[in-house]
Symmetry: C2
Subunit: 345 residues, 2 copies
DNA sequence: TGTTAGCACTCGATGTGATTGAGTGCTAAC
DNA sequence: GTTAGCACTCAATCACATCGAGTGCTAACA
């Protein structure tokens, strides 16, 4: 599995070139690189070796070579040069993140759009998983004679209009009762007993139809278990049309279809293990549609808790170095911002 | 401007045919239609007339004709057959809308996805304009030692975490003071006096840094003036790739770009006057990108108030009859559902 | 022994010219 | 006023030749 230094250099040169041009790379193109000082004939021999070893592929006999999935993998693991992001670019990025946006979903969407602007590939971001949040407060607000809005505050705010007849005073009682039993609790700590407690507190104060408390509790429970789906946002989907690998319109359409199907997309993106920046190259992706794409993901965290993911989807010949660097710095910036959300808990 | 009955029939036949095939329509194809009982030569003469009148266009001398924008316009205004939606389709649609979703944004997104499924064109929906809502309730929830969540309930719920040090008791006082002065008010009714009132109520109870009340008020004001942008959601964007008019990948990319640029898209969609279902054909659109598309929109209402729009974007040769019928029925269903949101106000 | 120049060969891409056929406008007959 | 017939147009298609980038292999070279 070990490659001679020269083979490594050649493989790297081939991939670098191919990333730029999307055209099969011939021996002459490599020979022009003065750093190698080697003739095209020699390179041909080496390339034949590299092909035999599985790192390169020849689309047809009289064409140059393109990297195989294994070639890219080797490149990403061992060959890739660290991408040096310009200092001004970094400054600008940091400045961009200093905007005063405070809504969580806006922050992560913004991060996604920055990632796509930086890399010019399609970007997906997922909202944080909402497990394990703690009920902070519950409230009822009368909307009309027979409608009441239920508000549950966890790390987020969830609300729903329900068909319950409650006066303002009753709303107050109801909310007090709920808060007394529920505030500060997590989903695990809500039991049948809790519910009985609430019923007790309400007795004589608020008269409710049978099912209402159940409905309310279900909503509260959903809110706190994060039953609500994690969202996923896509930026710069149209970029796939820019790359020659999607000149086949049918393929492009299927890809867009995947990007619009949030569930499928979530399955793809979230299936990835955590850790730092991480690439899935070509067939390493489960999803059929991504077999000739690469997906680079990174986790961001929400303070001490696990956050969501940022992912970049592009052709296999993407600029890995740049994407890795971009995601790294962006996730860092998000972490910084999101620390506020959970600080001092 | 008046067309003979025969010309009308021919124009209709040409457009109907072209909608189906996207290929220039020749005289022979029309002559085959037994309803006309007319030879291709006669049709050629009539078509030449229709071209002179501006309703048809000949891409090149030896090709058939395609409709001009004016042709489509005439078709939509006067020729188009009413599309009869099957009874089962209607039933199914109504059933689909009986799902128990209650979050406003989910409802309208769902409506958008139904419209796109029904028509197989790209659909955009905008959330209702948020003007004129009334403050129902304001609340403060302590998040950590120096962070507090501010919640404003109008027809929606808006929240923001702010850097304010407040104990639980102080939160209560603060909220009471705000509610006393603000609950039930609209943006117009918030004045400098209101603010002074609140400061009065707080005096001695809650000590706040200078700027905090201003920040809080700004957030409340934004919430109630609907300063927050109206959202716009896109479904089935990939459908544009299915139509031969977008076989040019570059064009398709630009179109997708438009669909991703929410601001530009909003400008396009919202610029349309209200009323029932309404089409903008080709050059009738301001937006350069839509000059060879049609945009069909309809308003939905939020009870007595103005709601948002649903729009279908497709090729000029779209199935207008079906799109009109679909949007009509969908906006009706949304109206029904959304009536709950404002009923009995 | 490793490297390189040279050469025959391969094969997709590109260009060219002929052919096809759908469709037209016009004319003359009905 | 309608229609059959005909000459004409022109994009699309196809076969065919050409081109050229790139290869593998061989033989000469350091």
């Amino acid at each position: 599995m070990d490659l001679s230094d020269r083979k490594r250099k050649i493989l790297q040169a081939v991939i670098d070139e191919y990333i730029g041009t999307a055209e099969p790379v011939g021996s002459r193109a490599i020979a022009k690189n003065p750093k190698l000082g080697i003739s095209s004939a020699t390179i041909r021999n080496e390339m034949a070796d590299l092909e035999e070893m599985g790192y390169l592929i020849q689309p047809h006999t009289s064409a140059g070579r393109i990297p195989s999935d294994e070639g890219y993998r080797f490149y990403v693991n061992s060959l890739m040069q660290r991408y040096q992001m310009g200092m001004e670019a970094i400054m600008e990025l940091q400045k961009a993140f200093q905007m005063r946006i405070t809504r969580l979903d806006q922050i992560i969407r913004y991060a996604g759009s920055i990632a796509s602007a930086l890399t010019d590939y399609t970007t997906v971001v997922t909202s944080p998983e909402r497990k394990l949040s703690k009920i902070r407060k519950i409230d009822f607000v009368p909307i009309s004679a027979d409608k009441t809005m239920l508000i549950v505050v966890t790390d987020y705010v969830k609300s729903q209009v329900m068909s319950i007849k409650l006066s303002e005073a009753e709303c107050g009682y109801f909310a007090d009762a709920m808060n007394k039993s529920l505030a500060g609790r997590t989903a695990d700590e809500i039991t049948a007993e809790t519910m009985a407690d609430i019923e007790d507190s309400l007795r004589g104060k608020v008269r409710l139809p049978e099912s209402v408390l159940t409905d309310v509790m279900r909503f509260v429970f959903d809110a706190v278990t994060g039953d609500e789906e994690t969202e996923i946002y896509v930026s710069n989907a149209q970029s796939i049309l820019k790359y020659p690998e999607y000149r086949d319109v049918k393929k492009a359409g299927e890809m867009l279809s995947l990007l619009e199907n949030k569930d499928r997309l979530k399955r793809v993106v979230l299936s990835d293990a955590g850790g730092g920046v991480h690439a899935r190259i070509g067939a390493e992706n489960e999803e059929e549609m991504l077999k000739d794409c690469s997906l680079v993901t990174v986790d961001y965290s929400l303070g001490p808790r696990r956050g969501g993911k940022i992912g970049v989807i592009g052709p296999k010949r993407m600029n890995y170095a740049k994407v890795f660097a971009s995601l790294d710095i962006i996730s860092g910036e998000i972490d910084k911002i999101l620390r506020y959300y959970t600080e001092n808990e």
